[in-house]
């Protein structure tokens, strides 16, 4: 985070009149798109969020040039903390080359002139949707989550006035009842993603729609975890080395997903796998959802069942992708 809190506030960049020569329009906008006052407002909310882990801080979310629900909260958080010395990685579903990740990375390359990377280890800021990278994060890294619905209780209680009270009184019985009802009906907790967590022993928090597979990575993480919900206008955070527990019962302890198969490309047996349909006769394969993790493993010589084929395919460059 190079742009420090309380740094000098340059005035808004001068805006040229419509129809001027600058066809791209990028230099009509402030560094990282948001004006400095807005960034300062967001940084203050981030500090508050870090001070009260898991608490949802309302913030004056701005209208972004990308649609609501497509990462506007994450983008505003990233825009507020990013500086020219940062290295940005953007993933969606764990992959760097999914369309929306590409689009957001292009946005920052354009408005913040920032270096981008696909390597988890090299990034200082990682914006993500639906996954936490497989490679453990380190101190100094910031993971920015895009959040569609910050309120973990929303599906139980649609009214904001009520859910805020429930958080204030730490009244989370309803959530436990819901999990219990799953057990009564299905014999197990049937929540597979957005699996609620208790942060710092105080606030129940939505981990965003990451698979519950990623939940254990949140607790005690050396990196800063920031959450931005643009449409719902909330920011929350998990500071480094904070206790994050997935809700469970003594006789039904929390467990993550397991696959019977390994990654068909890199052979990893401990990563989150995506299922890929190969034909219309039930043929399928499983591959790492974290493309950087998979690529790094293959570069180190690990191969899976279809690894050799895939290596050829990768060398021939996948169709439609520009990597």
């Amino acid at each position: 985070m190079t742009s420090g809190i309380g740094a000098a506030e340059p005035m808004q960049t001068t805006r040229a009149a419509i129809g001027d020569s600058d066809p791209d329009g990028a230099d009509r906008y402030n560094y990282a798109y948001l004006d400095e006052q807005t960034k300062r407002m967001i940084r203050r909310c981030l500090l508050k969020a870090l001070a009260v882990p898991g608490y949802q801080v309302p913030f004056g979310s701005r209208e972004m040039p990308l649609p609501y629900g497509w990462g506007t909260g994450g983008i505003q958080v990233t825009a507020s903390i990013i500086g020219p010395d940062d290295v940005l990685k953007v993933i969606d579903q764990g992959a760097d080359d999914t369309t929306n990740a590409v689009s957001i990375r292009r946005f920052f390359a354009r408005v913040a002139a920032v270096e981008t990377t696909e390597a988890t280890a090299e990034a200082t800021v990682i914006q993500t949707r639906h996954r936490i990278p497989e490679q453990p994060l380190r101190e100094g890294q910031i993971l920015v989550y895009q959040v569609p619905q910050p309120e973990p209780l929303r599906k139980l209680e649609p009214r904001e006035g009520e859910t805020r009270k429930m958080h204030a009184y730490a009244e989370y019985g309803l959530m436990h009842v819901r999990l219990y009802e799953d057990i009564a009906r299905f014999g197990r907790i049937a929540t597979t993603y957005s699996y609620p967590v208790m942060v710092n022993g105080r606030h129940v928090m939505s981990p965003t729609p990451i698979p519950k597979f990623d939940n254990p990575k949140m607790g005690g993480n050396p990196a800063v975890q920031l959450f931005g919900a643009g449409r719902e206008k909330r920011i929350y955070a998990v500071p480094p080395y904070t206790d994050v527990r997935s809700l469970d019962f003594e006789d039904h302890p929390f467990a993550i997903q397991r696959w019977d198969e390994c990654c068909a490309l890199c052979g990893a047996g401990d990563s989150y796998l995506d299922e890929v349909i190969l034909d219309d006769r039930g043929g399928r394969m499983f591959v790492c959802s974290d493309t950087d993790h998979c690529g790094t493993r293959r570069a180190r010589g690990h191969t899976g069942r279809l690894g050799a084929d895939a290596a050829t395919a990768a060398a021939a460059k996948p169709r439609g992708a520009a990597r």
């Binding site: 309302p58 649609p67 369309t99 649609p158 009214r159 597979t192 729609p209």
Partner: protein, 370 residues
Amino acid sequence: MYVAVKGGEKAILNSHKLLAEERRGDPSVPEVSLRQIDQQLGLAVDRVMTEGSLYDRGLVALAIKQARGDLVEAVFLLRAYRTTLPRLAVSEPIDTAAMAVRRRVSATYKDLPGGQVLGPTYDYTHRLLDFALAAETDAPPEALEPAEEPVAHPMLRVCDVLGGEDLLEPETPAGDPASGEPEPFDLTREPLSFPAGRDQRLQNLARGDEGFLLALGYSTQRGFGGNHPFAGEIRLGEVSVEIVPEELGFAIDIGEITVTECQMVNQFAGSASRPAQFTRGYGLTFGHCERKAMAMALVDRALRCRELDETARYPAQDEEFVLYHSDNVEASGFVQHLKLPHYVDFQAELELVRRLRADHGDARRKEAAE
């Protein structure tokens, strides 16, 4: 052999090129100009200005052109631009009593000072397609005779007539920055908070989607929220916008905008502490957006149920329901985000459903064995 097909940067760029081509259409047809959109699709411009909450016909015409006439997309373009603008000043409240009126109708009085002024309206046109327009002869419209007397100015507002008799509740003044009161709430700077004050609500409704408000307003008329409203007055015209620069200390006129204002008059039986009185529902839009202004006024009144001790039973009376879902930029984005990949979550659900099916099968087999 497996080849990962994922949309890459090149695919996105190509999609943009394709879009530009579609937008232009057949190149042998002359390109539409921003002035043409402004002048000949004026009501589309009015709607986008209102919901985009930016009064700039030129920029709106550009947004409509860029969005190929998709008005919700145009609102989005305009909002994304607006958010980058510095807020230089907060204007004084506009004075609609001093409006240069072009249209003014009241459904509560047959005649009143200033009279009924029909102005430009589709209301009494027969909705027959005018094939003369299809001929594109560009014949000038029929000349209009000047009226015998000029439109009254200023024109008395119906609500001021009723208010004078104390039959209509007084309007609560919003914060006045000049006299040291807090500025009115600004949704573009702060998040909605509940219970919402009237300033929050009216700003939200003014920016809200016309279709959504129309349906909600309609629902109150059909019994889902029962106030019998009267269209006290609808007026369209130009008003001055004034600001008080700090260094001057007095108001200066910075320009003129066109607005549509609707005052709905509703019954209120009174309560233990208040005698029976008519209550207000208020609608205001940029430009000429009469349908929106009327729908807004109905919904504003429905949402006042809490302050008027009415039981909130229906969707239009539920402020969280209405105010959280009125914004078409938010709604459109979130509905359409379902297009984004969700395969990580779907995989998690697949794994669960397979496991549950396996459990089910095991249980059935076990039952059969017993």
